[in-house]
């Protein structure tokens, strides 16, 4: 193994679902940031982060818009985590025909999180800045990667607080499988 190593910046947003309380602040600011002209309007429907909220089931899951998928999944699984029952879709990042999330309300075109790309670059993405609850944490790392390795700058949908709990690996595996489906 003597191939040249290359440094690469990995940007991640770590989501701590235990800290989220569904205030929608991230949705407000994401949609305002991406409005034209910038901040001239806001509408959570246009946000690239959506919070799956089901207050009476105590479910609050921020999900970032990922890839577009042309067809919805054939079967839907349910997950039991900590005694709570989650629809598989709750963790899914796809802009998918089965739901309204991650589509421009007018055109229906898919939305995708761009990590608030802008010039100059922001210190932290807007949703992270606005989540004072600490459910969204920005993390930048330099990593050495094999040259030919194409690390996609993907958000990490690791849900820290639940990560250590038994069975969560299964969920993570399923989520990443889902998000790559039908690329």
């Amino acid at each position: 193994m003597s191939e040249p190593k290359k440094k690469k910046t990995i940007k991640r947003i770590i989501i701590d679902v235990d800290k989220c309380n569904g205030c929608q602040g991230c949705e407000v600011i994401c949609s305002a940031f991406h409005a034209t002209p910038q901040y001239s309007s806001n509408n959570p429907e246009r946000s690239r982060i959506r919070v799956i909220r089901d207050p009476l089931a105590d479910i609050y899951i921020p999900v970032y818009a990922g890839e577009y998928t042309a067809a919805e999944c054939a079967g839907r699984d349910k997950y039991m985590i900590d005694g709570k029952e989650y629809e598989e879709c709750a963790f899914c990042r796809a802009s998918c025909p089965s739901r309204d999330a991650f589509k421009e309300p007018d055109s229906g075109l898919p939305l995708k999180c761009d990590m608030c790309e802008s010039d100059p670059t922001l210190d932290e993405p807007m949703c992270v800045q606005w989540c004072l609850a600490g459910a969204l944490v920005f993390d930048v790392r330099e990593e050495e990667v094999e040259e030919e390795e194409q690390e996609p700058e993907e958000l990490d949908l690791g849900i820290e607080a639940l990560a250590n709990r038994h069975g969560w690996e299964t969920v993570l595996a399923a989520v990443s499988r889902l998000s790559k489906k039908d690329d």
Binding site: N21, G22, C23, Q24, G25, V28, I29, A32, A35, P37, Q38, Y39, S40, S41, N42, N43, P44, E45, R46, R53, D54, P55, L56, A57, D58, Y60, G83, K84, P105, Q129, W130, L132, A133
Partner: protein, 665 residues
Amino acid sequence: MRYAETGFNLEIDLTRGNIERVATDPELTKLHLGGLGTNAKLFWDRVGPEVSHFDPENLLIFGTGLLVGTPAPSSNRTVVSSISPQTRLFAFSIMGGFFGPELKRAGYDKIILRGKSEKMVYLWIHDGKVELRDGEHLRGLGSLETAEAVRMELEEPNAAVSSIGLAGENRVFFASIEQGRSSASRLGLGAVMGDKNVKAIAVRGTKDIQISDPMAFMKLCNESLHYIKEREKNPVKGVMPILAGLGSPQEMAVDDEKWHTENFMWGNARTRRKGFWTEDIAEQWSHTMHTMRTRLLSCYNCPMKCGAAISVDSRLCSYMMKCFSKLTYTMGAFADLDFGLRIAQKATEHGVDAFSAPQTMAFAIELLEDGILPASEFPGMPEDSEGRFYWLLDKIVRREGIGDVLADGTHWAAERIGNGAQAYAHNNIKKTEQLPLKLGMLNHMYFLMYSTGEKVNITQIEGNFPQAPFMTREENEEFTKDWPHVPDDRFKRWFEDWELRGENSIPNYPHTEAACEIVNWQEQMHYIDDSIGLCAGLSSFPLKPPFHIHNIPTLISAGAGLEMDEETLKFVTRRNRDLVRANNIRRGMRREDEKPPEDHWKRRFPELEEQLLTDYYLFKGWNEDGIPTEESLRELGLDYVAEEFLETGILKAGGAAAAATGGAS
């Protein structure tokens, strides 16, 4: 183009089942902003003094504040207005949560309900599509059960729902309108909704909310968030923890209840229990909090977390609670916290106000114990205190037996019971139950606030000025060092000179002029919030909040595109304040109605109090009877109010009475 607001109201005639989308006059926004201001204007124009609470002509308005739904943190308030069955006056009760922003995004600033539906219905608003749907099958369901049923039926998990429980259906005078994370609890507006046969309002909105000057607006929003972060790290020193931070009192976050349980009154607001808070109790109550509170919760777009999900059954969230409702049932029943959180779940489903309901039940127990009500009125009631509260709650919300009388609240129930029962309805202002607080020495500023506040709730008028001075002048000065919130520097001097004891202490200091200014400033901030829809928790209620009289004008001008500066905002706020008062003066409210509960303070000063009230009235531009003078009404552009008052003899031409006595000393 309208900014921040939508420029449309929904007019719903329930009697005829008619629904109209009506464009509003932008001039009214300039004159009254929105929320409470424009609600008060609609009432003045459309609900005369002859209309009583359960008449079809009474309106029930859900009015969003002008900035609701914008990115300004906590701009999520909906002001619900109607004629209250309790006070018989123009009422406003304010809810946070998620309803207001959803309504705005659906394209409406207000929902105006009039008339009465023959059958039980619910209203479904989905952007441009608005319909009254059959709600007979929802009859008898709890408020949260109703919300869930409606969301399922509509297949709209993200709809925001305001609903009533059994109490509203049965027109309990202290019935609330519940919204999950928040509620409009005070003054019985749930009873008006029930009387109109509206079980719920569900809203889903997917449109944009526009901002006039995005960069200026966002700069302020970002600054406020930054300020909140810093302010949370640096609580105000030397005051009780619940007064040190931002938001509404952080009752859901704290375990230590020594201060409330030993200083506030138990039962029917009578019994102080010094030494109650032992180590055992502390441990037991902490355990309750830690097992039953599953998550702290914010309202829409707010970084504070004043609410909590409470679990009383197998679910992780059985209902959502906030603020002092944590203790009202516990203390009313002389019980423990576990009981308080459990019965509050039932009370929330039934939809009752958490101040009035436990107070009314404790009042009933006292009447029984003192033989004013015979035991035969309580057939089958359990012996233990907790059992009795569950029994009474059930009777009240169903209006069964004695419950039918108690459902009218302590004031009206006492009238019906007679036999000396009136003396037991002792903790009321304007016929409405209050926090169970009884104190020693009169605080003259609180005297004015209790007497003249038309929200009929002390927390809706107090706020930005500390409740008491610190032990030393040095600490006072330390506090005023970073206090840009005050309208001007005189307020700092008044606070610095204020002493706990001695010459410069209550009830003589702050002297009259200062006291009037201080009370006026605090009330003004609440009226601003209630018109633009900011939560009091980030503005008028806590010490040193992110929003204040010096930055809110920019928030309004940049957000809504109105020309606004401090003077204009104060002027508009005076106009709104006087229009609220005008609605009530027209309904017969007078000076004799403006007083705190008789026993609120042990040491009273009748002469001083009368003089203070007069001085404050004059300061406000009202005459000695508390009626806005012709001159001041005309100055505020409320000529139409002046003319009606002159025509009906409420005011005499020339306003001689007002000028007779001297102004503030």
